[in-house]
Point group: C2
Chain length 665, copies 2
């Protein structure tokens, strides 16, 4: 190691150690061991511009081992991002820019929120995928407008998580050569030696996935790391995993032990470590001037790179103004004028139509005007109706093919969709059956936490899917999705509500789940109902009675038609019923009180909710005096119509319950 390199590496190491020490909590072990590889990557390879963390053509760096956040914050500070040293001194404190795990949107230069293991690994695959797609769409001979690499530091924990296996297999299948991961192979996990649980041959496993696997025997060998990174960059056809043998807590008294992982070294061990490295014990947060000057060169390099790229883009704009404009729009995440002009208007005369089918039509109608709309399904495209017709299979057909075949990998699909959204320039979607949203809870949560634009399509949304039985019939999933903060859930009632829900989804700045039927449902007359406005508000009066209602029927999705049927009968029986369609709790919750009051007047306490899902949470809308016709146990294997009947989703049952309520009120 050159003296200056060593100085820089140790500066990173001790900024991290001191940050953890000052916070009184955190993870010093990984920064001590992984600082050299991170330094080489950031100093010699990573093309980024600290002055402009949003430069579209920057390389992406993900710290998938998010617990080592102090390492990332040290790098960001030292290379000149807007992250003052004072923020490192406030590591893990309320309101600081240096939370315990890196948070996207919170700290400049943090490309992804990490910490839940495996997520960063899989999001990187999404970024590399978006990069390739964008490059195919926009690059022209002599104009490599989109030309960057996705790097990550990953841990044994990341590799143990199934989501990384799923993502790695797909990355290998697609040959994502612009994906380069450094594996911090330190042989230690929280419970002790990794051998306790993890004796697999990582090299062979990743070779099996179609990756190039490289090895660096000594994590302190900067030239070794550099050589591996060069070899990784030279292989354009395969993703690369560089296995770097490191030592957790390197140089500290806790080296190579689990004790170095998740707690401060303590003042004494910290002192001993600094002395071993010939580092001044005092003051803490010490940054030698030479190290600062060297690492800060990133600013100048970044300015130069971005400047050169700006010139390239200027020439590109002259040559291909159409493409340049589209590129600009996409990376800014803006929608083109008339983006929704092709969305169909469905008519009751079209006959009954599953909302999944309507969704497929809307999606395809959107696809031409929104070339950034790309996505696919976890091996259920024919069922989720998410194929973009005529746009080819990504990785197989011509350039810019937009259908992604995720395979039976819901979890990775979620994380890859997140990664594509983080990369920017695309509007990604992923689809599976609603019940299998359970497989992708961690990325759904992260999508909400990061606030990315991503659309999740969940079909086969109730016991009405029928014969596949309880393993495939969602019950508690709707409630579980609704419980996630900052996450939009829409369950449209028909084709026109589905179209409106897609409008909401495309315009949304937060992740959205569209919950759709397998079975056919009637089409609501768009001339008779204010559907689009109603969906935007989350709930609206679909069918009104004369005078004050005796009872309000609140329904979502396919059950709206049941409520309408019941109302018809109640009318005949002289019970005044209002029908409220409520495709989205969260949108409705956001409405002003007056709007909500108009739909659900507080003086009408007889309210009956009808939804083929767990009633969990419905009390919020029906109140103490109300009731819910829901699904209070698991489903059953039988034809969907029979299931609905057996579980009480019949006009007669709704009428009976509604009348009882109306009488009681």
């Amino acid at each position: 190691m050159r003296d200056l390199d060593e100085l820089c590496v140790n500066t990173i190491r001790f900024l991290a150690v001191d940050a953890v020490e000052k916070a009184g909590s955190g993870h010093p072990g990984t920064p001590l061991g992984a600082a050299p590889m991170a330094y080489v990557l950031w100093d010699r390879f990573l093309r980024h511009d600290p002055a402009d963390p949003n430069w579209p053509n920057r390389d992406r760096f993900i710290l998938s081992a998010g617990h080592a956040s102090a390492l990332l914050y040290a790098l960001l500070h030292l290379t000149g991002y807007d992250l003052p040293l004072d923020e490192l001194k406030r590591f893990r404190q309320w309101g600081s820019k240096t939370p315990g795990h890196p948070e996207y949107g919170h700290t400049p230069g943090v490309e992804a929120t990490t910490g839940p293991l495996g997520q960063g690994f899989a999001m990187g695959v999404g970024m590399a995928l978006a990069e390739r797609f964008h490059a195919q769409c926009f690059n022209r001979p002599g104009f490599p407008l989109v030309d960057h690499t996705t790097y990550a530091v990953v841990s044994d924990g990341d590799l143990m998580e199934g989501v990384s296996s799923e993502a790695a297999s797909l990355a290998g299948t697609l040959g994502l050569g612009r994906l380069i991961y450094l594996y911090d192979d330190n042989h230690i996990s929280i419970e002790g030696e990794t051998d306790l649980a993890f004796t697999e041959d990582v090299r062979r496993r990743f070779e099996a996935y179609g990756w190039q696997v490289l090895r660096v025997a000594d994590g302190n060998d900067l030239e070794g790391v550099a050589a591996a990174l060069r070899a990784a960059r030279e292989d354009a056809a395969r993703p690369s995993l560089i296995i770097v043998r490191t030592h957790i807590g390197y140089g500290s008294p806790k080296e190579d032990t689990a004790a170095a992982h998740g707690e401060p070294l303590g003042p004494e061990a910290s002192r001993v470590t600094k002395e071993r490295f010939g580092w001044p014990v005092e003051p803490d947060f010490h940054i030698p001037e030479q190290a600062r000057a060297h690492l800060r060169k990133a600013v100048e390099r970044g300015r130069r790179w971005e400047g050169e790229w700006g010139e390239l883009r200027a020439r590109y704009r002259e040559e291909r103004p159409d493409l340049a404009e589209c590129f600009q729009r996409q990376v800014q995440g803006e929608l083109p004028d008339g983006w929704d002009a092709e969305i169909p208007r469905f008519s009751p005369e079209d006959g009954p139509m599953a909302t999944r089918s309507a969704s497929g039509k809307v999606l395809n109608a959107l696809s031409e005007r929104l070339p950034e709309l790309i996505g696919g399904s976890a091996d259920l495209a024919p069922s989720t109706k998410t194929l973009l017709l005529g746009y080819g299979d990504l990785g197989f057909d011509s350039d810019c093919a937009r259908n992604i075949h995720f395979g039976v990998r819901e979890h990775a699909m979620g994380a890859i969709v997140n990664g594509m959204a983080l990369h920017g320039g695309v509007l990604p979607y992923g689809a599976t059956f609603l019940v299998f949203s359970d497989y992708m809870r961690p990325p759904l949560r992260l999508a909400a936490l990061m606030g990315v634009r991503a659309i999740f399509i969940f079909t086969h949304d109730s016991i009405a899917l029928g014969e596949d039985g309880p393993t495939h019939q969602p019950v508690e999933q709707l409630a579980s999705l609704r419980a996630i903060p900052d996450f939009r859930v829409l369950r449209p009632a028909d084709a026109n509500e589905t179209a409106a829900a897609w409008r909401v989804a495309v315009e949304s700045r937060k992740p959205v789940a569209l919950v759709l039927t397998r079975q056919k449902v009637p089409v609501l007359d768009p001339d008779a109902y204010a559907i689009e406005d109603g969906v935007r508000k989350g709930a609206y009066v679909l069918a009104e009675c004369e005078g004050k209602p005796d009872v309000i029927l609140i329904a979502t999705g396919s059950e709206v038609h049941l409520a309408l049927g019941a109302k018809e009968k109640l009318d005949r029986l002289g019970t005044r019923a209002r029908v409220v369609s409520m495709p989205s709790w969260d949108l409705f919750e956001e409405q002003p009180r007056e709007v909500r009051e108009r739909v659900l007047p507080s003086d009408v306490r007889a309210r009956l909710a009808v939804e083929a899902a767990a009633p969990f949470g419905w009390r919020r809308w029906v109140g103490d005096a109300g009731e819910v016709i829901g699904v209070e146990r698991f489903g059953a294997s039988a034809p969907g119509t029979e299931n609905l009947r057996r579980y009480g989703f019949t006009v007669d049952n709704v009428v009976e319950r509604a009348q009882a309520l109306a009488k009681g009120s």
Copy 2:
């Protein structure tokens, strides 16, 4: 293929085809392709007793590719299980024993509920693990009381799911030689050729995990399958994957296409297929007498095997009555007398204690009297406090070691715990942070659906965990768990409630989640409060006021102490407040109305719930007039006490909100 063998294979094939055809839905493709391997396994290898599906020493068979259920039902019927042909004719109909996907507890001989892909694969690992543990504990020289193998048929979909990667890696690490999987390698998934998404080298991948990998080039080559199964059984040190090249929809006009996967062949294609195989087109559900007679020999073999084993057990009982009795008790899932005698009683003088720590003490106190209690954590044992002290590391230390190191594999942990529970004879537990319960939603759901005895320990249960930040702080997880049908959730308030919760968990016949704090909380005085009875009822009056309460404070877990603190202050301020501790919504829901009314009288409408989690669902308990102090957004990285304060979890805020409510009432 011998004529008789061929006849049997085709009998299986067409029973499945006809069942799907009659149901008008289902999956004929896999049964057509995989019938030969399944036949060889069941006819020549599987040691089972159709007359006694619960014989403890039977080999286990899992159809991880659960969509091929008709194949399994055909085998169960033909080999003599209590599954009449009429049930096959009612495939996928309401109330039949032949649901769309196999359901444990519903159909004799079905060892696990499958359908959600990857779950069967991972549950099999749990079964093999339980078998080995039990063999170590009970077998003695000359007495191989526990001596069986776990088999499964797995699909490409199973192998794509991350959970199977996690489970396979752990199975390899532990060298589970009694685990043998047949991989139905048919090159087709729902979206088309598996090459679209799955080009990995499965052989190399599984070799990397430490498995023996065998290949059968032609799935119709019965001798090839048999030879591979023999080789698999001979390798006692490694699990085996047998890659069997098959053709989906074999022999049908839809062979080798995705169209053969998920829908009936249709009458015409069905006829053509039968003709190609020289099978009578009519009648359907045809079973040639020779085939029936041959396959039915399983009954006689089974009776003989179980008889021999019964003799072995009788001799064992004479030799080792103590062990025999314990074995008998464990496989029957009964608890020994005095099983809970060592559970500690905590005293307020012990000082504040995190409920995770109390749980660790209780768990260890239980471990001696409950030798069937085995489990571990997804690499968080030191944090979840789930190490059984003195009981060694399973797979590494001496026989009967009980601590399982699952690695950072929450999803597989959940499925493996399920598999161990299904195997029987053990009471398994798995632990991680509450937020990471998201990684294991599918097995949690399956645990509930199957009704297995399994205990899930989720610690670090709120924003109070502090500095690790929002990625690690659960918010919506409690609501999401509570929404699962047939799943028990307990969030105890202190060490004594934790002990009571453990009693509930050990006695429960359904899966239980214990939700525990990271931070210390005071110990409630067990002499002053009826804690054990209260926890069993789900909610109870912890602190009473004189006369009718002005307000009821309802809290769970750590927030109970906040409620108690607020009550003290409210007392001084002249507001009569009752404090209800509510560790379990579901237990309370099951109480008779009078019990619930005594705790939450309907005429006290001023109710304030306090829980550091999403308020989702609380309206059920606080009513229209009540309020909730909850967490309505994601958490933050800061010391836990600061988080609590910033999010409103202070005595003053509770007092203020309670007074406002009391005044309003």
